[in-house]
C-alpha cells in the first residue's frame, strides 16, 4: 500500500540568474510531486528552464528559491547519496583524464563505500547493472562510444545508491539505436532498484512513452500537466503548438495536418 506522501515534493521552485547586465528568471515558481518509483517527465524546448529545475532540486544551484522535500524531509543542501543526475553529453560528463575504473572508484571513495575487499565486487556489480564489460575499466573516455560512455555515467550515479535520479536529456546526443538501449536500461533499473526519475527532454514522443506524469515547461513555468493520455488533447496553446510541430512519419497524416493549418 502506498500512503499519499509523495516521494519527492517540489514547492514553488524559482531560479533567477542575476548578472550585472541582466536579471533573468529561468524557473518561476514550479511545483510538482513524484511518487516513489515513478517517472515525472518535463518536456520543454531550449530556454524553458527544464535543466535548471533538476539542478535546483539537487541543490546544485545555491541561489534557487523554494522548497524540496524528499520523503517528507526538507532538503536544504546537497544530498549526493539520495539524489544524483545523468547528463546529456556523455563526453563532457566524464573527466577525460580518468579511466573508467577511476571514475567509479571516485564515486565510492567520496562516501567511503565498498572499502578494501568489497571494492572489486562492488565495481563489478555496477558494470553488470549497466551491461558494460570489465575490459573497459582501463579505458579513457576518448576510446569509448557515446552509448558506452552514457552507461558509465549511469553507473557512476548508481554507485552511491541514490533513490532519485535527475535525467537531463540523457539520449539527446545519441543516435536512435543507442537511445533505445539507454532508455531500456533506465526502465529496467527503475524496475529492479525502484529508483524515481525526473526525466527532462525536448523529445515529446519519448517523454510520453517513458513518463507516468508529464509537465510541459515554457519560459520557466509549467503551463500544462497531466498523464500521457491527457496530453493527447492539450489545453494550453503552447502544448498544442508543440504537438503539432512534431513531424509524423506518415505522409497522408502530415498532408492532412498541413491542410488544416493552412485552412485555419
Amino acid at each position: 500500500m502506498s500512503d499519499n506522501i509523495p516521494f519527492l515534493k517540489v514547492k514553488k521552485l524559482s531560479v533567477r540568474y542575476r548578472t550585472t547586465r541582466e536579471d533573468f528568471s529561468a524557473v518561476s515558481s514550479v511545483s510538482f510531486d513524484i511518487q516513489k518509483g515513478k517517472t515525472f517527465g518535463l518536456i520543454g524546448e531550449s530556454g524553458s528552464g527544464k535543466s535548471s529545475v533538476g539542478k535546483a532540486i539537487l541543490r546544485l544551484i545555491p541561489s534557487a528559491e523554494g522548497s524540496v522535500f524528499l520523503n517528507g524531509q526538507p532538503v536544504h543542501g546537497l544530498q549526493p547519496k539520495n539524489m544524483q543526475m545523468i547528463f546529456q553529453n556523455p563526453y563532457g560528463a566524464l573527466n577525460p583524464r580518468m579511466t573508467v575504473r577511476k571514475v567509479l572508484e571516485e564515486a565510492l571513495d567520496i562516501h567511503a563505500l565498498a572499502l578494501g575487499e568489497e571494492r572489486k565486487p562492488a565495481i563489478k556489480q555496477l558494470l553488470e547493472y549497466v551491461h558494460i564489460s570489465d575490459t573497459l575499466l582501463t579505458k579513457y573516455p576518448r576510446e569509448l562510444s557515446g552509448g558506452q560512455l552514457q552507461r558509465i555515467v549511469i553507473a557512476r550515479a548508481l554507485a552511491v545508491e541514490p533513490q532519485f535520479i535527475f535525467c537531463d536529456e540523457p539520449t539527446s546526443s545519441l543516435d536512435a539505436h543507442h537511445e533505445v538501449l539507454i532508455i531500456d536500461l533506465l526502465v529496467r533499473l527503475q524496475k529492479e532498484l525502484g529508483i524515481t526519475y525526473l526525466f527532462v527532454s525536448h523529445n515529446l514522443p519519448l517523454v510520453r512513452w517513458i513518463a507516468d506524469e508529464i509537465g510541459v515547461m515554457y519560459r520557466g513555468e509549467i503551463v500544462e500537466r497531466g498523464s500521457s493520455e491527457d496530453l493527447r488533447n492539450p489545453k494550453h496553446p503552447y502544448t498544442r503548438s508543440l504537438l503539432q510541430s512534431v513531424p509524423i512519419a506518415d505522409p497522408r497524416k502530415e498532408r492532412e495536418r498541413m491542410r488544416k493549418v493552412i485552412d485555419s
Binding site: L60, L78, Q84, F87, G92, A93, N95, E106, R156
Partner: protein, 261 residues
C-alpha cells in the same frame, strides 16, 4: 625536434655542472700573459682581456643562467597558480580586484622596480631572481585563471559536485590535471623569458657583479671588443640563444604530448 632540444639542454647542463670540476682554472683565474686569445685547444672559447678562459666562465655562467631561469619560473608558477586559481574559482568581485591588481603590476615600467630593488637589496643573484618575478607571475596567473574558469564550467565538475566531492578534491583531481597542458606550456616558455631577462639585466650592468659571470655580463664585457675579439661576445650570446631555443622547443613538444594524454 624534441631530441634536438634535449641534446642542447643536456649539453648546457653538462657544461654547467661538470666542466668546472674538471678544470684547474677558475672563472676568475687571471692570466694577463694570455689575454684576448682566439679559440684554441687549450682555450676552447678563447680568453678575455684578463686572460680568463671564456669556456670556463661560460660554464659558470651557465650555472647562473639556468639557476635564475628555473628559480624565477618556479616562483612565477607558485604565485601565478595561487593568484590565478583563487581569482578563477571565486570569480565575481574577488576576481575583478585580483586581476585589476595584476593589470596594474603589469603596466609598471619594468626596469624601475628592478633598479630600486638593486639599490635596496644590493646587486646579486637573489636580487635578480626577485626582480624577474615582479612581472613574470602575471602571465601564469592569467593562464591559470582562464583555465580554471573554463574547466569549472565542465559537466564532469558538476557531476563531481553532485557526487559530494569537496572543492579541494575537485580542484586537485579534476581542474588541475586538465589545466596541466596549458600550465606546463606556459612554464616552459617562462624559463627562457627569465634567462633572457637575466642576460638583459646583466648586459645593462644590473645583476651579477664582477668577477662572477653570467652570460649577460659576459656579453656586456665583450661588446667593446666586438671588432677585434668577437669570440668574447659570440660565445655567451650563442649559448643564450641555443638555450632559449631549446627550452622553447621542449615546451611546445611537452604541451602537445600532455594534451594527447
Amino acid at each position: 625536434m624534441k631530441k634536438f632540444a634535449l641534446c642542447i639542454l643536456l649539453a648546457v647542463l653538462f657544461q654547467a655542472l661538470v666542466i668546472p670540476f674538471f678544470s684547474e682554472a677558475n672563472y676568475d683565474t687571471i692570466d694577463l700573459q694570455n689575454a684576448n686569445l682566439p679559440p684554441s685547444f687549450s682555450h676552447l672559447f678563447g680568453t678575455d682581456d684578463l686572460g680568463r678562459d671564456i669556456f670556463i666562465r661560460c660554464s659558470y655562467g651557465a650555472r647562473i643562467s639556468l639557476t635564475v631561469g628555473i628559480a624565477a619560473a618556479l616562483v612565477d608558477l607558485v604565485v601565478g597558480l595561487i593568484w590565478g586559481g583563487i581569482a578563477g574559482l571565486y570569480g565575481g568581485k574577488v576576481d575583478e580586484i585580483m586581476m585589476r591588481g595584476a593589470d596594474i603590476c603589469y603596466s609598471l615600467p619594468y626596469l624601475l622596480p628592478v633598479i630600486l630593488l638593486t639599490v635596496v637589496l644590493g646587486p646579486g643573484l637573489f636580487t635578480v631572481v626577485i626582480a624577474l618575478t615582479i612581472t613574470g607571475w602575471i602571465n601564469m596567473a592569467r593562464v591559470v585563471r582562464a583555465q580554471v574558469m573554463q574547466l569549472n564550467r565542465q559537466e564532469y565538475v558538476l557531476a563531481a559536485a553532485a557526487l559530494g566531492a569537496s572543492q579541494t578534491r575537485i580542484l586537485c583531481k579534476h581542474i588541475l590535471p586538465n589545466a596541466l597542458p596549458s600550465i606546463i606550456s606556459t612554464l616552459t616558455l617562462t624559463i627562457p623569458a627569465a634567462i633572457f631577462a637575466e642576460a638583459f639585466l646583466g648586459f645593462l650592468g644590473l645583476g651579477i657583479q664582477a668577477p662572477a659571470a653570467s652570460w649577460g655580463t659576459m656579453a656586456n664585457e665583450g661588446l667593446p671588443a666586438l671588432e677585434y675579439y668577437p669570440w668574447r661576445i659570440f660565445f655567451p650570446i650563442g649559448l643564450i640563444t641555443l638555450t632559449i631555443l631549446a627550452f622553447n622547443i621542449l615546451g611546445n613538444c611537452l604541451a602537445d604530448e600532455v594534451e594527447i594524454l
